[in-house]
């Protein structure tokens, strides 16, 4: 057998191995992290890079938002630190939203990897920490300065020695110091595990550098992606979507141009920067636009510098999708998670029968700040607690499948068990179950949203930091499908609450949430009657809705 043929086989093996190395890197982070967002919800990312800062492999975690945000990030580190100033045992850090992954709560850590005394590449990872100081996680800041501590790109450790000054600064600026510092250490540990596995691989295959395998990976990924793009009709298409925003509705506009070897997605026409913290740095826009295009066009090609490069994303400066410093950006996900539905809606004109109807879009997160009730009559064991929950509405119906009930799309993070949540503070989740009739009717039905009811144990009151959209702009159906149920947020006494921002909940009151449903696909009249009967039997739709939306009468 020729050496070429042999190396073709070992390149195949090494590519697999690198993907397994970054998965291991990510697993280490999940196991050692403190923040619920990382360890329960999987809001993290990990990858390996060559000496030019090209991402070679990335762990498939819960966050498409980190996809190429992190890829760009390593190049910033190379520039800011300087490759001459990099040593074995170094660990670099930042949470600058414009250098990392879009808000201060994401900390990115990069470590150079040395083999036989020479640098061979980098490992990077990102995780969402529980607190970063400032106003706390929420929509209400007026600039990034109010959102917390910003760590510029700098060394967390040099030649293995941690910068204790930085650790002190972090400790003195965040609410949950142990958890945040613990998470930074977990990020450093996860890069270290990646590095160890990489060294083993280089030894096993007798390589001195990553160059040969990098070339193989990037070439094959690029070719495969471009082949997919070339098979598409050369067309230009547009779509727009209006959503709630903070106080004013926001319009997201996209134009896609399919060229022979690339796709351009441009967001001209999109609303300008908002006064409140729902603005999106460009890196995050790129990530979610790329994600949508990859899902529809090249889902099985792994993420790396080359497979992402044919997707060219732009948004006008000063728009909400390219917000510049010092715009507040803490909740960039609420708008950013709407980008995929906007992009997929445009793609529908090019790839009919491929993309789903619109869904809930953004995760329906909230943070509670619980404290003993004021007025001095709180019980002795009353206490303070910060409780963050991730919850999901329904996804849009697909061309040949119903939408998924209470399942995140585009985000891939997980919810937390309510039994675990109730151990983190004096909170009681009285209800968390599917919301009948919230899935948009169609030949294929949208996924159902969910109902939640949230209170506390006796003697507490709390602030509710809401991060919801689709109150006034529910998910829209496709090809005749109807819209999904809109978000509702009220108290048990009927008080209607705002979809975004921190709001006080008086002692004894229960917050009631109806999270949004996904929209339907196709004419409801064409729905298989057996499926309607099943939906009625299971209570996914009421008999009334079956008759109203589907013209279906239950047999009595």
């Amino acid at each position: 057998m020729s050496t070429e043929a042999l190396s073709a086989v070992s390149n195949q093996v090494m590519w697999n191995r690198l993907i397994s190395v970054v998965e291991e890197q990510a697993q280490t982070l999940v196991r050692t992290a403190f923040s619920t967002s990382v360890r329960e919800a999987g809001d993290l990312s990990a990858g390996v890079y060559d000496l030019d800062g090209n991402m070679l492999a990335q762990a498939v975690t819960g966050t498409p938002g980190h996809v190429n945000a992190m890829a760009e990030s390593v190049k910033h580190f190379m520039r800011e630190i300087g490759t001459d100033n990099m040593f074995d045992g170094d660990v670099y850090i930042t949470n600058d939203p414009w250098m990392g992954t879009g808000h201060l709560h994401d900390i990115t850590v990069v470590s150079p990897s040395f083999f036989k005394g020479k640098m061979v590449g980098y490992f990077a990872c990102t995780a969402h920490v529980v607190d970063i100081g400032g106003r706390g996680f929420g929509a209400d800041a007026n600039s990034v300065y109010e959102e917390g501590l910003c760590i510029p790109i700098m060394k967390f450790a040099e030649r293995g020695a941690v910068d204790m000054g930085l650790v002190k600064i972090v400790r003195n600026n965040v609410r949950e110091a142990d958890q945040v510092v613990g998470d930074i250490y977990a990020l450093a540990a996860c890069n270290e595990i990646g590095h160890r596995r990489l060294v083993e691989m280089l030894e096993e295959f007798g390589l001195e550098t990553l160059e040969p395998i990098a070339e193989f990976i990037l070439e094959n990924s690029y070719r495969a992606t471009v082949e997919r793009i070339a098979a598409l009709p050369r067309k230009s298409v547009t779509n727009d979507m209006t959503i709630d925003g903070y106080s004013e509705p926001i319009r997201l506009c996209v134009r896609l141009d399919i060229e022979e070897d690339h796709i351009r997605a441009d967001f001209s026409g999109t609303s300008g920067i908002d006064k409140k913290a729902i603005n999106v740095p460009h890196v995050y826009t790129m990530a979610y636009a790329c994600y949508a295009l990859k899902c529809a066009i090249a889902p099985e090609i792994p993420n790396n510098a080359a497979s992402l490069s044919p997707f060219r994303i732009s948004a006008p400066e000063g728009s909400i999708l390219n917000a510049e410093h010092p715009a507040p950006v803490a909740l960039r996900h609420v708008i950013g998670h709407m980008i995929p539905d906007t992009v997929l809606g445009a793609l529908h004109d090019i790839l009919p029968g491929t993309v789903p109807a619109e869904g809930a879009g953004s995760l329906c997160n909230f943070q509670l700040s619980i404290r003993p009730q004021s007025g001095g009559n709180a019980p002795a064991d009353a206490r303070r607690a910060e409780v963050l929950m991730f919850n999901c509405g329904g996804s849009g119906a697909r061309p040949s499948l119903d939408g998924m009930n209470a399942t995140a799309f585009p985000s891939g993070v997980m919810t937390m068990p309510i039994e675990a949540t109730e151990h983190t503070g004096p909170v009681i989740i009285w209800r968390k179950e599917l919301r009948p009739d919230s899935g948009g009717a169609g030949k294929f039905r949208g996924g159902l949203g969910q109902y939640m009811e949230i209170g506390t144990t006796e003697g507490h009151e709390f602030d509710f930091s809401a991060m919801f959209d689709r109150v006034r702009h529910p998910a829209r159906g496709r090809e005749g499908g109807l819209e999904g149920g809109a978000t509702r947020f009220e108290l048990d006494d009927g008080t209607v609450m705002r979809g975004k921002g921190k709001q006080a909940i008086p002692p004894g009151r229960i917050a009631f949430l109806a999270l949004p449903g996904g929209a339907g696909y196709g004419d409801p009249k064409e729905r298989d009657p057996d499926l309607i009967a099943r939906d009625v039997a299971g209570g996914y739709i009421s008999a009334d809705a079956a008759e109203r939306d589907y013209g279906y009468k239950a047999k009595s």
Binding site: M1, A5, L6, A8, Q12, V13, W15, N16, S20, E23, E24, Q27, V30, R31, A33, S35, T36, V60, P64, E176, D178, Q179, G182, Y185, A189, I193, E203, E204, N220, A224, E227, R228, C295, A298, P299, I301, F390, S400, M404, N405, A406, T407, A408, M414, T415, P417, I418, E419, A420, E422, H423, W430, R431, K432, E433, L434, Q450, E453, T457, G539
Partner: protein, 706 residues
């Protein structure tokens, strides 16, 4: 009269039912086809055959240890009992909403698995326990009685009862059971606080649903089996292998049949642990590769590691998250879609992919010539000279090399412009790498470094790939035991009577209460002991204590083993020291200044198993006589070499053979790569040792002790 030295092991697998008779130290084995409509038929048939072969009267059998995939299959095929779930109002959809996430990020047409119990069969009660076990909303008996009427009308065979925070306070679940037991005497009941008393409602509810779902069928089957056995004069007690690697009584198994899930693979791990004990090995990687999957398990100190939650019935390429979580004590292993029948293809990136799709037994790999057109791992093995086309399965199946070559050319070679051999090598390398990656990740998750481990390989396809896997993992020695094809059933006979009792009780070390801890552990010890003594009334029971601990704020606990005196006289200081040692071992460094919490507790009670006779390793000896030669592809050098062959039966203890060599047996062949040497041991195990290391590695355990 039964003879205590005659025992029977029975493993019902997907294709075959394996029956192993142990009589005065000798083993006789039989494989018969599984009879799905009435699984006991195959068992009776197998017993008849094995007794005839061994010339032992069936009435001499003193005990039967049984493992089965029937519970697993019922969950995969969804053909269990008509079951309802009774749960807390507001939480009707916990088992359907899962983790609210997608296990595959880029598939727009992802289909989530259906909940085990459909929504119309999920009922709620207006009650609620709090996170400290306090009653937030009391359950009213009248509501339960009214629900019983509704359930009666629904015609259910089985009920799962899962209420929020019942692992802390089961009072409401017990009240439901007491009322239902009177009102619905013919319906089987399962309580989540008994089946799986652990925090996290999704896992606990799913587990109690699975238990309820398989309970009526398993109970009926076990009753039929004992009746049929009595019919042929066997009055021996029947014990069941459970997923945690121990044996429980028939009654326990009928009550908690979900514990039988994955009992076959657990038997395999016990088999490997038994071989490890014979050789005094403390670090073993058990590698079981069959037709569709490979199972990899780490065995330290001759004790397979157990975990508390695993997934059955994965619906999407064996992908994590696509199955049902079951939280019961289970031997921790990874199972991936890599077997002899796994099919190869080339994807859009021009990467070779192998599995998890399998050719199965029909049509089988292309070389079976039964209409299979796509190349399987077995086809690659044939082209690379690892199998003898004329002597496969003892010569009962004639393999077609040309069919293998055609399939490999068409689906791999032509796509990638590779010649047939390179294509076959690519397929083989990819499947080996997949298994090696699974082993590496598993080792990391367990905080282990595999160099210095010894591999124990069994299952039909394992000996063909074990050598290469060793090279990839830096493992220098492997053992291939005899009887490898019925390893699980042999393992059943080596398993202890054991039961692990678990409970979630939150304790922070800063608020540590020694009396409370002592009480929890004492209760668990009593519970585990009672189960074991229900099998053997008078045997001494050995207890293992474990706390699951983490830093406050972390989400993943690590298991921390506790000595018996730490259970009897617990102190916060010693628990902290134990935790920090375990944490540093796993993740490199401890985190200073944080409080530590214990989330749950486990006590395992087990009987002692007779220690096998130690085998002294023989590596130097006379060279065995080769009976032929074959062209064998050598992956390390990338070319064909001349390999000597010898039949396993003709290879005598004390003899050796240097690689490249093939040791042939009826069901499979053992590949001895170049640079390795095989030596036959006195117990029939074949030891394969690396003689010229590819890279510097530490001496293995056997070399150190030698």
């Amino acid at each position: 009269m039964s003879d205590p030295k005659v025992r029977l092991g029975v493993d019902i697998g997907g294709t075959f039912t394996d029956v192993v008779l142990e009589h005065h130290g000798a083993l006789t084995t039989v494989k018969v086809l599984t009879t799905y409509d009435a699984p006991e038929r195959a068992i009776l048939d197998g017993i008849g055959q094995v007794c005839t072969q061994a010339e032992v009267d069936a009435s001499k059998i003193s005990s039967i240890i049984h493992g089965t995939t029937l519970a697993t299959n019922a969950l995969i095929e969804r053909n269990g009992a008509k079951t309802a779930l009774i749960t807390t109002k507001g939480f009707r959809d916990v088992i359907e909403m899962r983790t609210e996430s997608r296990f595959e990020q880029y598939d727009l047409n992802l289909k989530l698995p259906d909940a085990l119990i459909d929504r119309e069969h999920r009922y709620v009660l207006d009650e609620r326990m709090g996170a400290s076990g306090q009653v937030l909303k009391a359950l009213k008996p009248a509501e339960v009685e009214a629900l019983a009427e509704e359930i009666k009308a629904g015609g259910y065979e089985s009920l799962a009862i899962g209420l929020i925070h019942s692992y802390l306070n089961p009072a409401h679940e017990i009240m439901v059971r007491d009322i239902f037991a009177k009102a619905l005497p013919n319906v089987t009941l399962s309580l989540s606080s008994e089946v799986s008393p652990q925090m996290r409602e999704y896992e606990r509810f799913n587990t109690v649903c699975a238990n309820a779902y398989v309970k009526p069928r398993m109970r009926a089957y076990l009753t039929r089996l004992t009746e049929k056995l009595a019919g042929i004069g066997i009055s021996a007690p029947v014990f069941l292998m459970h997923s945690g690697g121990g044996i429980i009584s028939l009654d326990s198994a009928s009550e908690f049949p979900v514990r039988l899930v994955e009992s076959g693979p657990a038997g395999g791990a016990i088999f490997a642990a038994h071989v490890a004990a014979k050789y005094g090995l403390d670090k073993v990687l058990s590698f079981d590769m069959g037709g569709t999957t490979a199972k990899i398990c780490l065995i330290k100190a001759q004790n397979p590691k157990t975990a508390r939650v695993f997934e059955v019935a994965r619906t999407y390429r064996f992908k994590k998250g696509s199955g049902m979580p079951i939280s019961i004590p289970v031997i921790e292993m990874v199972e991936i879609g890599a077997g002899g029948g796994s099919l190869a293809s080339v994807d859009a990136m021009r990467q070779i992919r192998v599995g998890p799709e399998s050719a199965g037994s029909e049509p089988g790999p292309a070389c079976y010539d039964r209409g299979g057109e796509r190349p399987a791992v077995t086809d690659a093995d044939l082209v690379l000279g690892r199998l003898d086309p004329d002597n496969f399965a003892g010569g009962t199946i004639q393999l077609s090399s040309s069919a293998s070559e055609r399939a490999l050319d068409a689906h791999v070679g032509q796509v990638l412009q590779l010649d047939t051999t390179t294509a076959a090598f690519g397929v083989s390398e990819v499947v080996d790498e997949n298994m090696a990656n699974a082993a590496r990740v598993h080792a990391v998750e367990s905080g282990e470094d595999l160099s210095g481990y010894v591999m124990i390989a069994f299952g039909g396809a394992a000996p063909l790939h074990a050598g290469r896997l060793c090279e990839k993992l830096g493992i220098r020695q492997m053992l291939v035991p005899p009887g490898a094809g019925v390893g699980s059933a042999i393992g059943f006979l080596k398993a202890p009577f054991s039961f692990e009792a678990t409970r979630s009780v939150y304790t922070r070390l800063t608020e540590f209460s020694p009396p409370q801890v002592k009480e929890v552990l004492a209760e668990l010890k009593a519970e585990a002991g009672d189960f074991v003594r229900s099998c053997v009334a008078d045997a001494p029971v050995h207890y293992e204590f474990r706390a699951y601990m983490r830093y406050v704020g972390q989400g993943w606990e690590i298991p921390v083993d506790l000595a018996e005196d730490e259970a009897d006289a617990p102190t916060a200081e010693r628990y902290q020291a134990q935790f920090e040692a375990a944490y540093a071992n796993l993740f490199g460094r401890i985190v200073d200044g944080l409080d530590i919490e214990i989330t749950s507790w486990a006590v395992k009670g087990s009987t002692a198993v007779p220690q096998p006779e130690k085998v002294s390793v023989a590596t130097a000896g006379t060279a065995a006589r080769a009976d032929g030669a074959r062209r064998l592809f050598d992956p390390a050098s990338g070319r064909f070499v001349d390999a000597r062959t010898v039949e396993r039966d003709a290879f005598e203890p004390g003899q050796t053979m240097d690689g490249p060599a093939l040791i042939t047996e009826r069901e499979t062949s053992i590949i001895v790569p170049a640079g390795f040497q095989a030596s036959m041991q006195s117990d029939g195990c074949l030891l394969v040792t690396q003689t010229t290391p590819a890279r510097a590695v530490e001496p293995s355990q056997m070399e150190r002790s030698a």
